[in-house]
Structure formats: C-alpha cells, structure tokens
C-alpha cells in the first residue's frame, strides 16, 4: 500500500502538501507537478477508508433495490448513475430482494462506510430508515414513498397511469377490462388499480369491480396465476390491465395457454417489458419513466448531500417522457 508519505518522500515535500494537491489546497505549481509525478510513478491511490474515516463521508452513493433482475430497476439505475457519475460520485447497487433484514444490512453498510447517501426502493412500507436519518445520511426513495419517514421521494403518477392504461383498452372497444395488480398495501399497486377501478366503474357499470381485480406479487408466476383466475370467471373479461411488466409476461403466458393473445384479447401494462418486443405486439404500454425517476432522485439526493435543507418533498413524474429539466414537483 503506497501512502501519502511515500509520495511525499519521493516528491521531497510534506504529506500535507500531497494531500493539498489532491484536495485543491494552495500549492506551488512546481511542487504540485513533482507530487503528481511521484504519485503517478508509485501508482498511488488515496485510501478511501482512511479518507472516509477522517472526513466522515465518502463519495459513494448506494442504490438499494428490491429486485435486481427487474429491468425497471436496472433502467432506473442507469438514470441514477448518469447523474451521480457526472457529479463525481460513484454508485454501488445493492439488492435487498424485498427482504427487510437484507435491506437493513445494507443500511448499516451505508452508514458504516460513510456513504454519502442512499437512493432506495423500499422493501416494504414498514422499511425503517431511522438509522440512516439519525446518522444524517440523505435518503431519497424511488418508485414508492415512505409516508411516515422524513425523506424525499420520486414516484410515477400511478393513478393517472392506471386510468390511461385502462381507458385505452375501453377506447379500443373492449367491454370488460380486468385488472391484475400488485400486493395489497403496496403503494404502486393500490394507485394503479385505483386508476383502473375508476374507469372500470364508469365503463362497466353493471359489473362488480371486486370480481375483476386480482392481487398478485408483481412477479411472472403471480401474473400467470392471476390471469388464469380472471379467465376462469363466469363472465371473463375481454381485456386486462396489468400493473407491472413482469406480471404482464406471466399473463401473456396464461393467455397463450387459452389460445388467446393481444390484440385479440386486450392488454395494457404499466412499464416497458424490455427485450420482449414481439410479445408486446398488440399490447398497450403505459411507459414508466424509469431512467428519469432515477436521474431525478439522484439530483435530489445530491442537493441534500450538499446541504440543501428544503422541506421534504415528493416529486411525481408523468408517464409521458418529459425533459429532464421540467421534473414537475408536487407538494407532499
């Protein structure tokens, strides 16, 4: 391990001078050059553990997601990266897998490694960011909020998304649009199905919404089972609104088994299903601005890291893709 002392010795200066060269202090050009040359020769890398210990903060931010295999979250990660890297921060991705214990463990790491902040997809509404907050680590949640915690969040306009997706199907002439949504209590699931319910009540007034909505787990298999359930109804729907990308894949499979497929059987889904363009033929997609959500969250986080102390806010992004600049904000 070559240290600041080695560099100092080789450059004929004091360790303090070396430190100043790397942190922008006042150093004469000649000495600065000598230091840089020495550092180069010795392949010196500042020891971040020491630096973090001393400075009580690092330039790494953590992105904690609930499912690293969900393309929505990886797309979001790209957005976070773009902004963070441009600002000189590095991003590390942590997979909580929706598990509170694993999530908490990553929080501990973030604290103990003095990470600068956390962009978080909460594993559950019960997610506890108290430790993070106590340690003054900025947190921004994405995709869903944490209403009880004093942290910013960036979410999509899920209610409108639900309305749009459902409305599009009715507008195409389908007469009874079912709904496959996420777990009870999950914010995005409630909002998206809420949008569906409004439209359903209006367009299928004779039917009971409770019969035509089924909750699943936001995963492929859940979507398959849910679709099968809908098809087994006495009066099955002729179209379905699906609240996330993975469940849509499962639903397609289930339809397929019954010899059905879009566009004959209507389907609208919230969020892109990447890498499945053909499967999407005939499907309506309410695009989730995944990258934008990530980028916006990173921007907010960076502001907080830099000391911004505005009141906590929730930023709601439209499903249409606006320019990064307009990120419309709604009070919370």
């Amino acid at each position: 391990m070559t240290t600041i002392y080695d560099v100092a010795a080789r450059a004929g200066v004091s360790p303090a001078t070396v430190s100043r060269v790397f942190n922008g202090g006042n150093v004469s050009p000649e000495k600065a050059r000598a230091v840089r040359r020495a550092a180069e020769k010795l392949a010196y890398t500042p020891n971040r553990a020491a630096r973090a210990l001393r400075r009580q903060t690092s330039d790494v931010i953590a992105l904690v997601v609930t499912d690293i295999e969900n393309p929505f979250f990886t797309a979001m990660a790209r957005g976070v990266e773009e902004v963070a890297l441009a600002a000189g921060f590095s991003v590390v991705l942590c997979n909580s897998d929706g598990d509170l214990a694993r999530e908490a463990r990553y929080f501990d790491i973030a604290i103990a490694e003095h990470m600068a902040g956390v962009v978080l997809v909460p594993a559950e509404p019960a997610t506890d960011v108290g430790r993070l907050v106590e340690h003054a680590r900025p947190v921004v949640t994405v995709d869903r909020g944490l209403p009880l915690a004093p942290v910013d969040s960036v979410v999509a306009d899920d209610l409108t998304g639900g309305r749009q997706g459902t409305g599009a199907l009715y507008d195409k002439g389908f007469t009874r649009v079912g709904c496959i949504t996420g777990p009870r209590g999950a914010e995005t699931a409630e909002k998206r199905s809420g949008g569906w319910r409004e439209v359903f009540a209006q367009r299928s007034p004779g039917s009971d919404p409770r019969e035509y909505v089924v909750h699943a787990d936001y995963r492929v298999n859940g979507g398959r089972r849910a679709m099968a359930d809908l098809l087994a109804l006495n009066e099955p729907p002729d179209a379905v609104f699906v609240a996330n990308n993975l469940m849509a894949v499962g639903a397609l499979e289930a339809l397929h088994q019954h010899g059905l497929r879009p566009p004959g059987f209507g389907m609208a889904v919230v969020g892109d299903v990447p890498y499945a363009p053909l499967a999407l033929t005939g499907m309506d997609v309410v695009p989730l601005p995944a990258r934008l959500i990530g980028a916006t969250a990173a921007q907010v986080l960076l502001e907080r890291i830099r000391g911004d102390s505005q009141p906590v806010r929730t930023i709601v992004l439209r499903h249409e893709l606006p320019e990064l600049e307009n990120g419309a904000a709604a009070g919370s």
Copy 2:
C-alpha cells in the same frame, strides 16, 4: 456516531473488551452480555471505515459487470450474492458499461475501500487488473477470461454451446444456418461462432462461412442490423445461430419486418431471453448457467480471500445445468 468508547462506558468496560465481544475474543459471559446490551441500546454499528483501515480488509466484495441491464449479468449477480451472503460477505454491483475508464475507477474504489475481492466481467481483453493484483485483491473473471492476467476465471463452454445450437438447427432440417456473433476479439463471440463454423462447414459444405457470419455488438440494435444483413444475401440463410440473448431480440425484430419468425425461420440463441417467453416460441435456447457461473466464481473468490494459493485456474461450466457441487475444472 456512537463509538466503541460509548458502548464501553455504558457497559463499564474498556473499549478493547467491546471489540473482543464483536470479534470473538475471550470475554467473560457477564461482561459480554453487558456489552451487547449497551450496544443494542445505543444502536451501535461498528465503523467499517475504521475497521477497514485497521484490518486492511473489509467484508464487501465488488461485482463489476459490463451491462447492468443485461439479464444474463443480473442472473449471475444472484449467484454471486447467494454464496457471498451465506459466507457473511456483502456484494455491491458496479456497472462499467464496457468502459475501461469506468472499470478502472471501480478497481480503484475496490482497492481504496479495502474490499475483499472482485468478481469481474472484463470490459475488454485489454482490461488491466494489475493494480488489483499488486494490492493483493483476489479477482475472478466471469463469462470471459483474461488470459494474460494471473487470475481465476469461470466461463461457459462456449465452443460446445456454438456447436449445439447450430447442430440443433440442422437437425431440424434447416439447410443453411447463418451466425450472428459478438465483437471481433471478444472471447465468447469467437468461441461461439467457432462452434457454429465447425458445424456449418460440415453441414453446408458448398457455402463460404465468411459470408454467413456477421459480427455485431451484443446488443439489440446490433442484432437487428445483423439479421437484416443476413437476409439481404443472395442466398439468405433459412436459420440463424445467435451468440447472445440481446441480439436475438433484435434479430427477431428484423425477421418480423420480413414477415418471418421462428419456428418457420430457424433460430437458436445462447442464453435465456428472460421475460420474453412468447417471443421464444420456436426458438432453441442453449441455456447459459448464469447463476451457477456467479455462484462458482464467488466460491473461488472466497477461497482466494481465505488464502488459498493454488495455481490459477479456469473453470469451464457446461451449458446443461449441473449440480453446484460438480463444477468441473479444466486446467488453464
């Protein structure tokens, strides 16, 4: 920030004793209990920066991939996680995006944060792990090797995969199987197309292989263009072997535009195309054992971290899914 001193004071012992409680030293049961209670009450988390500084190592391992949005790599990440978490390590995912500079930056972080080791998908054959090696950080490459570097690697049997995929198409009765492979010089691309070439030469003896293989960039758009090129030949192929999942998606799109699709037009692909089950109808998949590759790499890395100093080795995994235990090893 609550420190070991705070805990010590509250428990009425010395800081050294507190440290011993957390690191398995000899401490009397009563004092140990007192320490634990105090730590609990104070919500004490060991400061990892300090610990890493002192111990010169941490229990975090980095997984550096070239494309965080490629499901193959995220599936691999799951394998790495499973093994690492079970051994008490945490995993952070870093996205090099195939860029040498970004990759190098993450190496620096790994070194400077004293991470225990790195599982790496090399951005290029030119990837330089010298710094990592100098600093005695174990490295295991996955998916592709780094022949010039003294590091272990875990790869799939790509040559066989190429043969299998291609052979399956001929066996189905197709008569001229084209090939869409990855960038020139990329190990997996060369091997997979090498397997194709063998079979092609044998089964389509009249045709020039050079006409029927096209190199692309392992991405969706590249696959689309490549497929279009193949279809534009004077004597276009009636089937295609595609060297990775993303390009297969692009190829499907291109076929679609020409009114073609599997199984009418033959297609075999190396690696699953998750979330696209319907699009796969009629495709042959040579499954890449993504998770297993990750898990095996993590195991090897852990051994190295624990001081194993066996000669460097390359582990080649079959495309069939063997039990984790048999991870067949081939000398390197």
